[in-house]
Point group: C2
Chain length 648, copies 2
C-alpha cells in the first residue's frame, strides 16, 4: 500500500498499469473524435519517456485529465484556480484565455499557448507540454493497483505571522489567510473561536488546518506531520475502517466488525421494513450505524497511536440504504417500487453528523449513489477499479443479496442491480451459514470429497463460495444435470461410483452429503446440499446472469468481447472463477479473465481521502454511468428462464 | 413600514427620496468618469417618466446597480445567473457576451446589445433599456425612508410534482429541484431527512423552503403565505427584535429588553475584561446573549401569532464585541491595543448557533464589522441611511460609550471610533441615570427651569440627552462659560436673576440644582448638575468632535460643507440638535441639517432580511469604507484640547 517516500515522476508515469492505454492503442496520439464523445489529450510531461494520450469527456480541464491519469502537474491549491502554479503550454489545439491566465502570463506567453491547466478546458483534441515539477507530489498505490497522486482535501500549512500593530490591524483570520494565499478559504466558526487564543499563545507561529476550501482549525506550532483520515466501508453485514496517514498515504491501522444494525435484519430490505413497522426504528438504526463507526474509529486510533483530534476527515462508502440510515434519512422509498432515493449526492456533513467524535470540525465525504440499488459502495468500487478510465471492456459484479453489475469500456458505462436473494450469504440454504469458522468454502469432487473449511475445523455448514463450488463440481461430474436436477440414483452409480452413496434423501427431498461426522450420523444431521438448495442457487445466479446479459445486449457487444470480469464484495472476492463460469454466474470466458477484486468499496473510500481529484472523479461518475432499470423490462422473465440452466 | 400591496414600478421609482440624485445633478446622464472612480449607469426603465443615471463602482452588475437604486429588473433567482429573466438591452457602452448570454439570446439579440443584467458588469459608462416587468416585485420602506425591493433570501415555492414511476426514478431531491429550476440549489441534511415522508404524505404537492442557495425544508401543501424572519439589533445595553412578514415586508411584532449580559458590566470593555479575568466568563456571556435573543424570539412570535418553525432566517447587527460574544469568539484582542478582530465577515451559521430555536435549519446572517470599534451595527446603520449611495456629504454619528463616526459623499466613505466614555449613558455623572422613568431628558432654562421627564413622574436623575440639554442651556444663558466653568456667584445674579439661587455647592463642588422636591430638601438630595459633570461631558463631546474633525480633515472638506448630520443610536436619536450644536458635539451647522436617525442598526437588519441585494451591499461596504485609526495619531491630543471648549 505504501509508496516510496519520494517517488520520481517517472515512477508515477511508469506504473500506470490498468488505467492508461499505451501509445498506439485506440487512443493514439493525434486521434480525433471517435464517436465516443471524448477528446484526446496528449501530454508531453518533462522527463517522461514518451508523450501519452488519454481520452477525456469534452470540457474536462487539462489539470483534471492529467491528474486522473496519474500525470502530475504542479499545484498547491489542488486545481482551484488560486495558486497559479499549474502552468502548461498548449502546442496544438486551442484554449481560450481565461481571466486568471491574463494575470499569470505575459502577452507573449499567452500567444505561445501558455495557460493555467486547471482552467484550460479540453473541448477538442489538445497537445500539451507539461513543465518539470517544482514540487514533488507523493503517490500511493490503492484500489486495483491504481497509482494515486497524493493531494488530500486535508492540508496543513505551517505559518509564522507578523504580530498585529496599530498600523497593521488585519483580523486574525486575514492574517492567516494572507499567509496561505494560494488557497481561497473560508473559515469555520470553530476555527474563528480558536484563532484569537491560539495565535497569541503560540506567538503567531501556527499550523493552519484546511479541508477542501475551509479553514477548520489553527494549531500551535508546526503539526504538519500529524494528519489522518478514516476510510469506512459501511457494509450491510461488515463495516471496515482504515486509518490513513494523509501525509504519506500509508494505512496505519485497519479494523472491521459486524454492523450493529444486524439485530434489525440481515439485509437492507428487512432493515427498511423495520422502519416501516416502527416509527422509532429509523432513529435506532441510525444510532446503531453511528455506534459502529465510532467504535471502529476508537479502535483504529488506539491501534495507530493517533489522537482522535488528529483525524480531520472521514470518507464513507455504503449502499444507498446504509448511506440513508447513517444520515438519518427515511429509507422507505428505497424499499418499495419505484425504488427512489432521497438524493444521489449526499449533503456536506461533518464526521460528527455520523456520530464519530474526531476533530470537532472534521468533515465527512460520502460517496454518491447511482440508484437505489447501485449505491456509493459501487461508485467507490468503480473508482477503485478504474472502470471509468480503463479502455478494456470490463464487467464488474458485486455479488450479494442484492447484486450490482457494471459494464463499461472507459467511454460508456452501464449499471444495473439484480435481486439475487440471500443464497450467497447462506440464507435459504438448508445447511447454509455465513463465511465464518466451520463454513465449507471450497469443494472438490474426485474419488472422494475434498472440503476447504474456514478455520480448519470440522465442517459445520456451507457458505456462499462453498455452495457455488459444490454445485459447480456436481455439475462438472454429472451428478446434477444442466437443468439443475440430481440425476436418478440408477445413473449416479455409473457416473460417479465412489460418490453415488452420498446421493440420498432427507424426507422427500434428494440431497448430496458433503460431510458426515461419523458413519452413524443420521443424514439429516450431516452437512448436505439439497435439491431445493440447488434451485435457490439457480434462481440467484439466473438473476445475476440476466442482469449482465441485458447490460451486454444494451451495450451492443457479445459476452465474448468482455476482456475482464471483476468479482467484488466480501462474497465475490472469495468465489472460485472456474466455478463461477461453470454455473453461469459470469459469462463463459477464459478463467484468467475473471479476477477477484477484493474490498473495492474500501479502496475507493481510501482514494477519496488521498486525492480530491479522485473524489471529484467519483462525483463525475453520476453523469457518466447510465443506470438501467431491470424491474420494468418486458423481456426480463424470458431472459431469466434462459439463464436458469447450468452451462456446464 | 408597509408598502401598498402591489405598488407599480412608477411608485418605486417615484419615491426614491434619499438615494438617487435627480437627473441634472453631478451624476447627470451621459456623465463620464469624474475622478470618483465610479461609472455612470443610465437606466431607461419601461414606464418610468425619464431615464435615471446612477453612479456605481466599476464592475458592479447592471442588476445590482439598478436594484441598489430601487429600479426593479425581472428576476426570480435574485440575480444569480440561473433564471435568465433579467434581460436588458445595452444601448450605449459595451458589455462582453457571457457564457449564459449565449444560451439566453439569439445571435441577433446579442448583436443588438441584449444581455442578462445579473452578469453584465458595468466597467465603463453604460446606457441600458430595462423592459417592462413581468413579475411585480413588492417594495417596502425601511431605514431612513429607503425603498427596498422585496427579494428576501427566504423564498417559498409551491410545486405539484409528478409521482415517481419505474420510468422516472429521479431522486426526491431532483424532483423538487427540477420544479424550481430557475434556482441553483443544494439541500440541507435536514431537508433530505424530511423529503421522503413529506412528499409522500402530501401527495407530492409541497412547498419548497429556500434560503439563499439552500433548500432547507419541504412543507406539505401550499404554505407560501407563512414566511417570517427576525431582525435583531444586539446592543450592549438594549436588544431589539422585529418579527417581519417576509411575504409583505411588514413588521408583525417588535420587542426589546435589556441585554442579559448586563451583570458582567455596562459597556463592552468591562465585558471583555470579564473574559480575561475568568476563563468561564466567555461561555456565560455567550449563553446570556443567546438567552436574550431566544426570549425576544419567543415574545415576538407570541405577539405576532407566528409559529417558531415559520421563522426561516434571522439577521443580527451588533458591535464587534457583541458579535464575537454571540458567536462564542474570544473578544480579548478587541479590548487591548492594537484592537484586532478575529474576523470581519462572520461565518455562515444557523439561528440555532445563536441559541435561537426557530425553524431547525433557519439561517442567521450577521453584519460584518469594519473594525474592532466600528462594528456590524454601524455597517447596518450605513446601509439603512444609504450613506454609500447618497451623493450629499453626510456625517453619521452613533453616540454612546464608544462613539462611531462615518463621513462620506457616496463615492468615498471614511469611518472611525472615538472613546466617549460613559457620560452619555449617565455614567460618571453625579445624578446620572439611564433613560428610564424619572430621567430628565429635556431641560429649558428661562425664567424658571422647565424639565421634560420620562414617564411624567417626579425627576429622579439626569439621562444623557438631559445632560446635554442642561449644559447647552447653561452655556446659552451664560451661567457656564465657554471653558466649561460655572461663572462666579457674583456674576450669576446679574446674568440670570431668577436662576442664580440654584447655583450652589455640594461640599467643595459647585452645582446647579435642576430639581428640588421641596424647599427643605438638602441640596445633596436634589437632582443637580455638578462642575465635574460638566467636565465629564466636555471630555466626552471633545472625543467625538476630535473624531469627526479629523475625518473631515482627512476627507479634505470644510465642516460647513457637510449637508446632513445623522445622529444615531439609542442615545443620539433623542438628542436635541440645537443642544448638540451648542455644546460642539456636532459641527456648527444650521439645525435643520441635523437629523435624528433612530435605531438605524435595527433598520439595517430588517433590510438584510428583506433583500439579498441590500445584504450584499452591506458586505460591499467592507471594501468601500476606509477605517481611520485615531489612537496612533500624533495630532489627536492637540485636536482634543481644541475641542474641549463650548462654541456656544
Amino acid at each position: 500500500m505504501t509508496s516510496p517516500p519520494d517517488p520520481s515522476v517517472l515512477d508515477i508515469v511508469g506504473r500506470e498499469g490498468l488505467i492508461v492505454p499505451p501509445v498506439g492503442t485506440s487512443a493514439d496520439a493525434g486521434a480525433s473524435h471517435d464517436g465516443s464523445g471524448r477528446v484526446a489529450l496528449t501530454l508531453n510531461a518533462a522527463g517522461a519517456p514518451a508523450p501519452r494520450t488519454v481520452r477525456v469527456p469534452p470540457g474536462v480541464t487539462v489539470f483534471d485529465g492529467a491528474s486522473w491519469n496519474g500525470i502530475a502537474i504542479d499545484s498547491t491549491c489542488g486545481g482551484h484556480g488560486t495558486c497559479k502554479k499549474c502552468k502548461v503550454q498548449i502546442t496544438s489545439g486551442s484554449v481560450p484565455v481565461s481571466r486568471l491566465d491574463a494575470r499569470a502570463f505575459t502577452a507573449d506567453q499567452l500567444r505561445d499557448g501558455w495557460r493555467l491547466a486547471c482552467l484550460a478546458q479540453a473541448t477538442a483534441d489538445l497537445t500539451v507540454d507539461v513543465p518539470p515539477l517544482v514540487t514533488r507530489p507523493k503517490a500511493a498505490t490503492v484500489g486495483v493497483g491504481r497509482q494515486v497522486i497524493l493531494r488530500p482535501a486535508v492540508q496543513k500549512r505551517y505559518v509564522e505571522l507578523d504580530e498585529p500593530t496599530l498600523a497593521d490591524q488585519r483580523t486574525d483570520l486575514e492574517r492567516v489567510l494572507d499567509a496561505v494565499d494560494d488557497l481561497s478559504l473560508t473559515a469555520d466558526l470553530y476555527a474563528l473561536r480558536r484563532l484569537p487564543r491560539v495565535l497569541r499563545e503560540a506567538d503567531f507561529k501556527v499550523t493552519a488546518v484546511v479541508v477542501d476550501e475551509t479553514l477548520i482549525d489553527v494549531e500551535a506550532g508546526d503539526t504538519r506531520e500529524r494528519e489522518f483520515g478514516i476510510a469506512y466501508d459501511l457494509g450491510t453485514t461488515t463495516v471496515v475502517a482504515t486509518l490513513l496517514d494523509l501525509s504519506t498515504g500509508t494505512p496505519v491501522a485497519v479494523r472491521s466488525r459486524l454492523n450493529k444494525q444486524q439485530p434489525f435484519g440481515g439485509d437492507v430490505i428487512t432493515r427498511i421494513s423495520a422502519t416501516m413497522l416502527d416509527p422509532a426504528a429509523l432513529g435506532r438504526l441510525t444510532t446503531a450505524a453511528h455506534e459502529t463507526l465510532a467504535e471502529l474509529a476508537g479502535e483504529v486510533c488506539d491501534e495507530g497511536g493517533v489522537d482522535a483530534g488528529e483525524v480531520y476527515e472521514v470518507a464513507l462508502a455504503g449502499n444507498a440504504t446504509m448511506t440513508a440510515l447513517a444520515l438519518g434519512i427515511d429509507p422507505e422509498p428505497l424499499g418499495v417500487a419505484p425504488f427512489v432515493m432521497s438524493c444521489a449526492i449526499p449533503p456536506v456533513v461533518l464526521a460528527s453528523d455520523l456520530g464519530v467524535a474526531l476533530h470537532p470540525a472534521a468533515r465527512a465525504t460520502i460517496f454518491p449513489s447511482l440508484g437505489a440499488y447501485v449505491g456509493g459502495d459501487i461508485v467507490a468500487g468503480v473508482l477503485a477499479t478504474g472502470m471509468d478510465r480503463d479502455k478494456r471492456m470490463r464487467l464488474f459484479i458485486d455479488v450479494g443479496t442484492n447484486c450490482e453489475i457494471v459494464l463499461g469500456d472507459g467511454d460508456r458505462i452501464l449499471s444495473t442491480a439484480a435481486p439475487a436473494g440471500p443464497a450467497f450469504e447462506g440464507g435459504a440454504i438448508r445447511c447454509g451459514m455465513r463465511a465464518a469458522d466451520g463454513a465449507i468454502e471450497t469443494v472438490k469432487l474426485g474419488d472422494d470429497v475434498e472440503l476447504g473449511v474456514i478455520g480448519d475445523i470440522a465442517p459445520a455448514g456451507l457458505c456462499g463460495s462453498g455452495l457455488v463450488d459444490a454445485v459447480a463440481e456436481l455439475v462438472r461430474i454429472g451428478l446434477v444435470d444442466a437443468s439443475g436436477r440430481y440425476v436418478p440414483e440408477v445413473d449416479a452409480a455409473s457416473i460417479a461410483p465412489h460418490l453415488a452413496d452420498r446421493l440420498t434423501a432427507v424426507g422427500q427431498e434428494r440431497v448430496f452429503v458433503l460431510h458426515r461426522p461419523t458413519p452413524d450420523t443420521p443424514v439429516e444431521e450431516t452437512v448436505y446440499l439439497s435439491q431445493r438448495d440447488i434451485r435457490e442457487l439457480q434462481f440467484a445466479k439466473a438473476a445475476i446472469a440476466t442482469g449482465w446479459s441485458l447490460l451486454v445486449e444494451e451495450f451492443g457487444v457479445a459476452p465474448s468481447e468482455i476482456q475482464q470480469v471483476l468479482l467484488a464484495g466480501s462474497f465475490g472476492s472469495y468465489l472460485s472463477p472456474a466455478a463461477a463460469v461453470r454455473i453461469g454466474l459470469v459469462p463463459k470466458l477464459p478463467v484468467l479473465r475473471i479476477v477477484s477484486a477484493g474490498n473495492v468499496a474500501g479502496e475507493g473510500a481510501k482514494m477519496a481521502l488521498l486525492s480530491r481529484r479522485e473524489r471529484e472523479g467519483a462525483a463525475a461518475l453520476l453523469e457518466e454511468v447510465r443506470y438501467v432499470e431491470l424491474s420494468d423490462r418486458a423481456d426480463f422473465n424470458d431472459k431469466f428462464v434462459d439463464q436458469l440452466a447450468f452451462p456446464g
